[in-house]
């Protein structure tokens, strides 16, 4: 059990634990906050995986924007009596069962792939991942098209969200 593994395990527990809390706590605001924790754990994972840029982006975008958005939405849709009483549906065991089944299936599937237990090779020397990622995202031979489409998507989402959320004229 190397140090990396221990760190991984701890981070993993953090992620999974807070994930569980997200889906089980009654108070929605607490759930959103637990989501923040979980996302943070995922950022740590990215860092371990040496995807530095992604770790930062994770914190900035997911935690800084999306989670905050969630908190705003929760606050905008609160009601007095809303958080009393059960917050899960009455037939919660069906999703639980499903989840377990799928987990089991996925695990079996994962373990059946040959070479899945290999450890990572060392990073190629001299590879600047950030620069390579940037080049890939704007290079016409690489992924400029998805990049541009993603930006169009953002625009559409922006306009759509503004339109949908705007209250109609009274």
């Amino acid at each position: 059990m190397t140090a990396e593994q221990i760190i991984f395990l701890l981070t993993g527990a953090l992620v999974l634990g807070s994930g569980l809390m997200v889906v089980t706590v009654r108070n929605l605001l607490h759930a959103a906050l637990w989501l923040v924790v979980s996302l943070f754990g995922v950022a740590i994972l990215y860092a371990i995986l040496q995807a530095n840029f992604l770790a930062v982006v994770q914190v900035v975008v997911y935690i800084g924007a999306i989670a905050i958005l969630f908190i705003f939405a929760v606050m905008l849709t609160r009601r007095e009596l809303m958080e009393k009483g059960r917050q899960t549906r009455s037939n919660w065991w069906i999703p639980a069962l499903l989840g377990l089944l799928i987990l089991a299936g996925l695990v079996v599937l994962i373990l059946s792939v040959p070479g899945v237990n290999h450890t990572a090779a060392a990073m190629p020397a001299g590879l600047d991942t950030v620069q390579a990622l940037g080049t890939a995202l704007v290079s016409p031979d690489a992924y400029v098209l998805p990049f541009e489409v993603a930006s169009v998507l953002m625009l559409a989402a922006l306009v759509g969200a503004v339109y949908v959320a705007t209250a109609g004229k009274k």
């Binding site: 992620v15 995986l49 994962i110 990622l133």
Partner: protein, 103 residues
């Protein structure tokens, strides 16, 4: 790196299932979106770990993850906008109560 790939993958799978559970069992619509976020993150972990373990020189994994970020953000924005709009109208965010498009 001494962590086998399978650990990351299993972690991602577990996170995915937790998110799935959340989607399927929570009453509040916003809580459902929280579950969706967890699932997206699981996907991202999967992608990035594959990127790292198979061929770090190829930027496809990261690029894909970046796009997933963008899509997740857009989706959350629009979803929450929808939920707020519905809340204004029906004064509820319980998913089961928003069932007009039915038989």
């Amino acid at each position: 790196m001494s962590v086998p790939l399978s650990w990351y993958l299993i972690l991602a799978a577990a996170l995915f299932c937790i998110g799935l559970y959340g989607v399927l069992s929570r009453k509040n619509a916003i809580a459902i979106l929280l579950g969706v976020e967890l699932m997206l993150n699981a996907v991202n972990v999967n992608l990035v770990s594959f990127w790292r373990y198979l061929d770090p020189a190829q930027m496809a994994g990261q690029a894909f993850a970046v796009i997933v970020f963008a899509v997740a953000a857009a989706e959350v924005a629009v979803g929450l906008a929808l939920i707020i709009s519905v809340y204004r109208r029906r004064k509820t965010v319980v998913a089961d109560e928003i069932d007009l498009m039915k038989w």
